[in-house]
Amino acid sequence: MSVPLHLRSDEVFVLNLGPQHPATHGVLRVKLTMDGEYIVKAEPVLGYIHRMHEKMAEDGIFAQFMPNTARMDYLHALAFNHGWALVVEKAAGIEVPERAEYIRVITVELNRIASHLLWWAAFLLDLGGFTPLLYAFDDREKIIDLLERVTGSRLTYCYMRFGGVLNDIDDEFITGTRDFIKRLRSRLPRQYHDLVTHNIILIKRIKDIGFVSAEQCRRYGATGPVARGSGINYDVRKNEPYSVYPEFDFDIPVFPEGDSMARYMVRMHEIEQSMRIIEQALDKLPAGPVMGKAPRQLKPDAGYYYSAVETARGLLGHRLVCDGDKNPYKLKLRSPTFSNLSLFGEVAEGMLLADALAFMGSLDLVIPEIDR
């Protein structure tokens, strides 16, 4: 249904979707060439909130960049914290105590659930369902409260330190997390799947729509749920393990269909897998310090360093160049949403406007992370 019978190039008009538009979640502008309601050509225009984060990294010392990481992907800020901490620890050769690694995994996974819940809410909002938004925010609120207890902030965390984490977690956090997991487990089948996933209108709107092939994913470098929804079994946590992820037993949900429904299902299953990881981490949580030995002023040896983490949207790579000084010489981020968005132009061609927006929602775009 998404391919029109014929497209005439002489009867088209240009529709500027954004930078202020309810469906673009931020300041993304898509220049659409339309034939009626069919999209002839879609061209994402970026740069509306470019803040030169990578350049900022060069101006300060290593620790000063930590708050910036949270301002890029504000929905999965802790994974960005983690990525930056990992690459600097690698460069400076800092050891992280085991308890800190466990706490990092617990908080990052909690944050991943919060990110997926918010994606779910926003995606349903794109599809015109307002009520699921508030159900998801109800659960997300619990996570934010938990994370606020340990990190001190609610959205833009600056929790990780080179060599550990800022605060230790307490018993209240642990019981609170266990309660939350119990609560979300009981709510997922009813409030999420019965109300929304099995809804005939939703299925008709996202099944077989927005097809992304595995070949396209490889060509554009799409990762995360987008690639896993197209049958590519790739997750940094399994394929290039970092931190203490190898110690946990969890699955990587992969759906081969490649449509919006597949991406939806990947994220819903990831919520369950994240809960499994958190439970195991809480069970095995070792005692000890949460902060290792790290010099106040870092001066890593000159060289190239790279580390990758899996954020809620895919692979986040940090490429750090050091010249032996107290500042990074250069930092380059490889952010997942940029590659995922690059798909949009090719896939949206020939789609109806409403389908294209549903497809865009299923990519889970976080614009500040594209325009760093």
């Binding site: 309810p22 309601e37 015109g128 009520t131 508030l134 159900y135 209108i201 709107r205 389908d355």
Partner: protein
Amino acid sequence: METSVWRALLYLVGIMVFAGLNAAYLGWCERKGAGRIQRRIGPCEVGYAGLLQPIADGVKLLSKQLLVPRGVDHILFRTAPVLAMIPAMTSMVAIPFSANIQARAIELSVLLLFALASIGMMAVLLGGWASGNKYAIISSARAVSQNLAYEIPMLVTVITVVLLTGSLELREIALKQQGGFWHWNVFRLENGHFLTMWISFIIFFICSVAETNRAPFDMAEAESELVAGYMTEYSSMGFGLFMMGEYLNIVVGACLTTTLFLGGWDCPLGLTPGVWWFLIKIYILIFTFIWIRWTYPRTQIYKLLNLSWKFLIPFSFANLLITAALIKVF
């Protein structure tokens, strides 16, 4: 002569008050209902339980500047919101609220209501067209194709009711259904009509959701796609009138459904018929509208049209044939 003038004046004021109150307070009901469904409170600050919220909203809208963007068609741009409101209000004239409360018994009142509904649809078309906004024009095009598609099955199902009752006058139709719910058109037991009439009712109800542009069929104002659709360029009371017109259309739709299928002012057990039963029924229907809106996501315009052309229209025609055959046989 004297009494007829007083009567006309009374009904004029009465209808305007009823329409005005509904247009204002259905917004409040909707927000409260949505709040309940979404596990939050809804408006609660202005007045007891937010009851003065519609008045505050009205004052706010009135005090805003009516912004007319450059490049719009001035006459059409200003006419459209009025055109959205007036037909809906005029429709109330023909509606029998009880055996004695009806402004005017017009012989072809069913047809009149449909004609007025079509004029109301023109407001959406003109408003979108006059705005000169691409989103508004897409929205108008959607609204027209949607209303066209759903008016056909709606009218065809109304014919089944007309065949059954033998009248095009709403009061007559309601009078034929008095004496308990087993006489209502939707449950009519005699002559095997229970086979077809509930299908008519369901088709009519779906169509009235679509005709009033309510979710999940709110293609014309799909805010995640078309910003605010045909209302994008409207501010102040221009926007306010469109909203009031929308709510009045819902009231008219509920009144029509009640009169055609649910026995009008009849009590379900046939005891105390009266205007209160009419009001109870229409508000139950309106609540159902609200409930549906806040539960389901939006459909797609082509799926919506497919539902009508490929499913509802054939079904309604088959339904009409069977009803006619049943009337002939018994």
